[in-house]
Symmetry: C2
Subunit: 253 residues, 2 copies
Amino acid sequence: MSRPHSGTALSAVDDPAPGCSTLKDCLHCSVRHLAVCSALSPDEVQALERVTISQPLPLGATLARAGEPRQHVYTLTSGALRLVRTLADGRRQISSFVLPGDYLGLTGSDHHRYDIEAIADSRVCRVALSQMKDLRARYPHLERKLLQRACQELDAAADAALALGRLQPAEKLADFLLRLAAREAPLGGNALRVTLPMGRGDIADHLGLTMETVSRTFTKLRQSGLIALPHLNTVEILDQDGLRELSADEGWA
Amino acid sequence: MSRPHSGTALSAVDDPAPGCSTLKDCLHCSVRHLAVCSALSPDEVQALERVTISQPLPLGATLARAGEPRQHVYTLTSGALRLVRTLADGRRQISSFVLPGDYLGLTGSDHHRYDIEAIADSRVCRVALSQMKDLRARYPHLERKLLQRACQELDAAADAALALGRLQPAEKLADFLLRLAAREAPLGGNALRVTLPMGRGDIADHLGLTMETVSRTFTKLRQSGLIALPHLNTVEILDQDGLRELSADEGWA
DNA sequence: CGATCTATTGAAGGGGATCAAAGCGAGTGG
DNA sequence: CCACTCGCTTTGATCCCCTTCAATAGATCG
C-alpha cells in the first residue's frame, strides 16, 4: 500500500495537540496518518498534527450513528471498527471493517451513512471537518492522496460487489480471508496467520450470509485442509493457492 | 447533483479538438463534461476541450477489456454502457451502468478492472491519461471535483452492497428502479417513466439474481399495481411510495 | 465451578436457481 | 401484407442450497 516514511519529520513536533494525553500519543497518531497519506512533506505533517486529536474508543463503543451530522474525519490508529447499515427489520450489512491506518471520511454526504462501532479496544485520530477543509485547500497534495485512496476504495467496493452478488459461501469466505491477510500483512502481521477481530455474525453480515453458514463454511475449509483454526479468532492459512483458486481469484488487482 | 452552468463559457472555443468531426461534437462533448465537473471556470473548460476527443460507440461494441492497460478516461455523452466483471466459469457481475454525464476513470489501477460495453448506440468523450494528469496538476479545482465524484460513487457502492447482501429480489428490483428513475430525471427524463437501456439478464447480473427471477419479480410488481410495463424496456412507476417502502428505502441519502 | 455469551452442529423448510418450454416482438424476405 | 425466423422474455416444474429453528458444545469471566 503505502511505503514507510522516514521518521525525521516527526522531530519537528514541539507541543502536544490539545486533547492528546501525552506527546507519545500524538506521535503515534501522526505515524498512522502518514500511513494513510504517505510521502507528505514535513510542512504538511506538522499542519496535520496541529489539528489532530487522539481519542480512545473501548470495545463496543459507538463513534457515530447513521443519520447524525458529520463533524470529524478519523484515522484508526489501533483496534478495529465496523461500519454497519441496519434496515428497519434488523437486517444488517457491514460495509467494511476498519483496520489501523484506514481513513474514515470519504463520503459525499454531510451525515453519517452508517453506524461506526468498535469491535476491539481502539484509538482514533480525529480532525474537525472545517479544519480538514482548510488543510485540503492549502495542500493540494493532500487532496490528491485522498482521491487516490478513494479510488482504491472504489476498486475494493467493486470486488466486494462481485463477491456479494456472485460467489458461493465458500468462495466468499476464502476471498474474505485472503483480503484480510493482505491487509494485515503490511501492519506487521504474518500473511499466513490472520487474526479475526470480528465475530462470526459480523463476518456473516459482511458477506451476506447467516452466522450458521459462516460457521459451517469455516468447518468445511478446515476439513479440506485449506485453513486451520488454532483459536476462534485466529485463522492459519495452510494452502494459500488453494484458497485463491477457490475464491475465483479476480486476479489482476 | 450538478447545477447547470451558464453556457457563455463555451463561446470561447475557437477550434475543434483533433478527432472531433465537427465543432458541434466538441460543444456537445464539453457540455457533458460540465455536467460532471460543474462550476468549472471558463479557463478550465477551454483546457478540457482542447484535449477531448469525441468517439462513437455502436451498440454491442467494447470500449475496453478487463486487464488491458488504461490509456484514457471517458465521459459518456449519449447512450449507455455496462461495466462487467466475468469469472472464469462465466458468472457475471455488472458493477454499474453508465449513463450520459457519468465519468469513467476513477480507479486506483493502471489496468482496466472490467469490460466496458455499449448497451446502446453511444458516444464518449476521451481524454488521454497523461493529459488528464497535466490538467489535474494545473487545476486543483478539477481534482476536488473528481474527489467529490469519487465520494458519491463510494456512497452508491455502499448502497449497492446492502442491496446485494441483504435485500430480497422484489426489494432489490424496487431499489434499482427508484435509483434509475432518480438518475434519469436530471437528464430530462420523467421520474415516473423509466427507460431501461439494459435487458433482463443485465439487470440480473447487476442485482445478483437470475434472469428468470428478475422477470418473475417484474410480473409480481406489475400485478401488485406498483408499476406498469407499457413496453419491455419502459417502466411506469405507479406507486412511488409503495416502491420506496418495499425497497426498505435506506432513507437519509 | 457455574453463568453467560458465542460458536458449532443438527433437522426441517422455503426460496431462488436450474432446466425446459411456450410467448412475444422486431426484423426479414417472399 | 403476411409468414417466418431469431432473440429475448415470460411462465412452468423440479431441485438443491441456504436459511431458519433448535439444541449442544465451548470459551470467557466472575
